[in-house]
Symmetry: C2
Subunit: 684 residues, 2 copies
């Protein structure tokens, strides 16, 4: 009988400490702390460099930083950003010791300066520079909860790593140049987390009673004798003395209020200083993905497709349109924020969501489900004859908008609703923004009957506006019509069934699996000369290792969703849901993902009320990475405008950013490489 | 080309919400919250039942409750405990909504009452009843950080489950009976977590300045004119008024201090009330595992072994001794607490550790490594001629003690050290507690030379006291002596090499693998009639799925370490380290496990300074489970005293508690079953 019996025999030295080389690694040390703290019973952060109390280091925005992330050396932050671009990086903190009193390891203060260029231009903290704490959702770092600026305080927990998401949002008009600033990180004296500083209710109530007794004794002043006044003043004096010399105010009484200044000095000497350097270059991301005029759509798409398939090499990158349309659930808003459809509160709530999502270069639409998979999708909550309509649809940040097909909700096509639809279309079709309009009528039709419903709705719409565009999502052909020899063939031939009743053919990336080469089979069936476009979408599928936006996927996997769109050549991307958490009827209710969905699927932001008293939505790191991916596309567009689309694909591949749905960057380095290459070759 | 292309085709319905049955599960609800909160813009915990704001439920002490543990229905707590037994259970909290201001979901107050019997006896909160927060270490719930009692406040984080470890420690003299009490759990109004309550430094400093100006204006009182006095009093009045009516004291000024009472009433109506019922039964765990007198050791062991192997069926369970010896690293204490060997601070630090560990029915010894794997193991830091020596060794809670073999440290056997050893032994060998003494000289000898060193040291010791006992740990025979045909045979025959120089043969459980039947091969080689004993130990191995104390193993896997000892019939158990974390020189330094060891291996408690200003060590859940396992052994001893050892093994197996190193309870139910069965059959 061997003692190893199926065990690893390699481990034979017992795990015991050794003074003289025996045992396991006792006394191994990564240095630092031990050398500089003079142990005096407790750790005083006003006397010890912050660097001795906590690890501080930086990681890229694509890193998922768990609570057990291991410290790394601190490097200064160096970012490259175009104008109108948002770049992010993470500052990571982990205590080396505990210096606070109860439960937490300690409180850290972060202070950000403006970023300044040598010519005096600024990226202002709080506006262009923001800090957010990365909060885990289901244990995965995802929610980005805003911190106060320019100074914020963060509680660190023993044995836990905390990440802070720093974003630089460069305004479109920012002068190019080198911007420099500093984040200083200082461990604060324990008080803040401890009883002595956060005045407990009892202590406060005691203070109130003492001061009240003081006031009662001196008030009213008039009509007293001299003796009474002197007695009372003596009483007041004694009470005030007692209060002021109590432990509560110990910190102030000992050095007569000069602490503030001293603290400031001390902080600067002891703080960890993290230099931030941002290179803003002479490239401006378009406010919208450069949008074609109404009649231009089909022509642009032709060029784009010709170019994509190598038929034409055009240097007209500004023609290339990639937009993201994203769904906001109307019913989720109504339930959670308790707003009744059509009330002022309802319009406000939808308006707030719309404006907030526009920041992310995304074209939002609201959605309500009808019978079966009919959808009422609309970008503007107001009708076309309302002044808000033009304000919404003309917004430069909006790349596409959904026009509501009202008859969907009733189930029957009543004359009133038909009339309502006709009026809506007749107003919109004459506007300059009509080129951004589309109708999204049915989600993923599955059989012949459903295809016929789409055709019939489209027919009606096109009666009112022959150039109206209908978007249809699908991942298969109709199950009950055998018009093609196989499942994939039936999928690819869907345009034959929907022509001319659909212009935007929006297919699931899941269908492709790892077979990127199938893209050409899809696009070969489309007629861009007739204005037909190819968009893609992801929802439950594809799953790991393919790009998607699920919680728990790698950061580069989230960002790769848009790299994939660029390489495959689609002109739009649809995401099925931004706020599709489980039903709740209180804004601050815990966030629950819907049953049966991968975590995070259909949820790109969270209600702010869950994390603070703020009503502003809290972005997910995944939403930021989607934006970063879209910004990468703008870089790639710029590069193709100089060197052609083929060269942009070659660059994606050469730098290791994206080669295919199963071969793309696992960490951030290739992303920086690609962006730097585009900067070096394209900046003037 | 099939569209499924290697994907799951089963998922065909897209994950979309539906009003009319379409889509995925939107609106599914587990009820509760939505029905009772009247949404009024923000959640006010003084108006809403706490049960609507958070989930509260209970789980057994063997559950590892992660931050994403899913809520369960709330059942009241019902525990069975003997006198002198400690039983624990976990109360689990998870917010349903957020009701505080910044970062946290809300603050919860827990209030415990004493547990009272109908005859008026009590288990007092703070003494017999304690609460500790379960804090993750490397993401695994483990550190048990004490909470204030009888009232404590806990911050809950959004989307995070928090566990509170409730222990009932029944005093040896507690009258049997049914004890009942209540833990009330109340969501507190946000203030506590928010700026308005915890007075920030600036606000406090402002208050200080105002009060100081008040004092300066009235002081000194003497020598002022009437007019001056009146003016100054008017000034004082106005300042005090301004302070008292400031938002800082809003809560007091509005209702003149009557809030306290109102709050109390409101809390009771809205709180979650969790009833605790403890059945204390008429069985008292011995203060020490019932220890034999000096000369009795060998006889008891004989009976025990005879009984174990079915040769004799004895109902003399009090003869059965199982003790745990556990190592505390002296060097870790010296480094972390900066105490110099032999100073008062050093004695204090060791003394504190010794006393603290005794609570856990464990016999601690300190340890320092010499050359190679020589160990200086000693239970009492003072020499035998010091009064502390008797105090330590006579302690009823101590089941065994290590006597230091001083020559180990010098490396050479100087006469002074030999003399020192001789004196030590000569004093101790005449004491009543000498029967508990053992020498632990070398850890895991590996070759003939090391075996000879052990023999030589043992020879020396036995010159001074022929009945001295030497403990030797081993997991193999000497690598360079071929006296047995195989590795396992060489391991089993070690007693032949060490007889009579070792009395306690302490073998690694790892050697057995899943082959419990090999136990009889080990014990067959021992001569209990000569006082030889068999102990076991675990360290790096065995690993999952076998019982051990590593972090991340199941709770029942930790507890099974002692079930295994009972079933295999060893009389002692040695654990290699209680505080063997990585080197640090500040008490509050972060806890790092040693490189190359499984997490938690050699660490059963943490320095209190890491979690709070307390200097008391913080127990791990694993240490509590080791204690629970030892208590289970006392139950099994009681049961064997009535029905025989075979019946106790049958009970372990019948209830599913422990059948073998790969077959034991995965969850808590079998443990309760077994304990209940012993209670029902053995209580009078």
């Amino acid at each position: 009988m061997e003692k190893s019996g199926g065990k690893q025999v390699s481990v034979v030295v017992p795990p015991l400490e050794g003074l003289a080389g025996g045992g396991t690694a006792y006394g191994w040390s990564d240095g630092g702390l031990e050398d500089s703290i003079l142990y005096t019973g407790e750790v005083d952060p006003t006397k010890v460099p912050t660097a001795d109390l906590l690890h501080v280091w930086c990681m890229p925005s694509t890193a998922n930083i768990g609570q057990q992330e291991i410290p790394r050396p601190l490097d200064n932050i160096s970012l490259l950003a175009a104008r109108n671009e948002k770049e992010s990086v993470q500052i990571v903190l982990r205590p080396k010791v505990s210096w606070a009193c109860s439960g937490i390891a300690g409180v850290v203060q972060m202070h950000c300066t403006d970023l300044c260029s040598s010519s005096g231009d600024r990226l202002a903290v709080g506006q262009s520079l923001t800090l957010r704490r990365v909060v885990p959702i289901l244990g995965v770092p995802d929610a980005l909860v805003p911190l106060d600026l320019p100074v914020s305080q963060i509680n660190l927990l023993p044995g836990e790593t905390t990440a802070i998401w720093l974003s630089v949002d460069v305004p479109p008009g920012q002068p190019p140049g080198q911007y420099e600033g500093v984040v200083s990180i200082s461990a604060l004296k324990g008080e803040l987390g401890c009883t002595s500083q956060s005045m407990p209710k009892l202590e406060k109530s005691e203070l109130y009673r003492e001061l009240k007794s003081c006031l009662d004794s001196v008030d009213p002043v008039d009509g007293r004798t001299m003796n009474e006044l002197v007695e009372r003043e003596k009483y007041t004096t004694s009470v005030l003395r007692r209060i002021l010399f109590s432990p509560m105010f110990h910190e102030f009484s000992s050095d007569n209020g000069s602490t503030e200044m001293m603290d400031e000095d001390a902080l600067t000497n002891l703080s960890v200083l993290l230099k931030i350097s941002v290179t803003v270059w002479d490239f401006t991301l378009p406010i919208t993905p450069s949008l074609p005029a109404v009649i231009g759509v089909s022509h642009i798409t032709i060029f784009m497709l010709l170019e994509l398939h190598g038929i034409v090499q055009l240097n007209i990158s500004f023609f290339i349109v990639v937009l993201i349309a994203i769904m906001i659930s109307e019913t989720v808003i109504e339930d959670r924020f308790r707003v009744e459809h059509g009330t002022d509160g309802w319009f406000d709530a939808l308006d707030q969501h719309f404006r907030w999502l526009l920041q992310y270069r995304i074209s939002p639409f609201f959605c309500r489900w009808g019978d079966s998979m009919r959808v009422l999708a609309y970008t503007c909550p107001w009708r076309a004859d309302h002044p808000k309509s033009d304000e919404y649809y003309s917004n430069l940040r909006l790349a596409a908008y959904a026009v509501p097909y009202y008859p969907i909700l009733s189930g029957s096509n009543s004359d009133a609703e038909k009339d309502s639809l006709r009026k809506e279309v007749e107003i919109l079709k004459n506007k300059a923004h009509w080129g951004k309009a589309y109708f999204y009528l049915w989600d993923e039709p599955l059989n012949a009957e459903q295809y016929e419903v789409i055709r019939s709705m489209s027919r009606e719409i096109r009666t009112y506006a022959p150039d109206a565009r209908v978007l249809t999502t699908y991942y298969c052909g109709p199950s009950d019509v055998h018009y093609a020899p196989g499942t994939f063939e039936a999928f690819v031939k869907v345009p034959n069934l929907l022509r001319p009743h659909t212009q935007i053919f929006c297919t699931s990336e899941w269908v492709l699996g790892a077979r990127e080469d199938l893209v050409k089979d899809i696009t070969a069936e489309l007629r861009p000369e007739n204005g037909e476009e190819w968009w893609t979408y992801v929802c439950m599928g594809p799953t790991d290792p393919h790009p998607n936006l699920h919680l728990g996927m790698r950061g580069t996997q989230h960002r790769a969703v848009m790299w994939r769109v660029w390489k495959e050549g689609g002109t739009g991307f649809l995401y099925w849901g931004a706020n599709c958490y489980e039903k709740a009827t209180v804004p601050s209710a815990e966030i629950r993902f819907r049953r049966g969905l991968p975590p995070g699927d259909g949820v790109l932001f969270y209600p702010g009320e869950v994390f603070s008293s703020s009503h502003e939505p809290v972005a997910s790191a995944r939403l930021e990475r989607l934006l970063s991916g879209l910004q990468d596309i703008e870089y790639l567009k710029l590069y193709s405008s100089r060197y052609g689309r083929e060269a942009s694909i070659a660059l994606l591949e050469k730098t290791g950013v994206y080669l295919g749905p199963e071969r793309y960057a696992a960490d951030h380095m290739p992303v920086d490489l690609m962006r730097a290459e585009i900067y070096h070759t394209c900046h003037s």
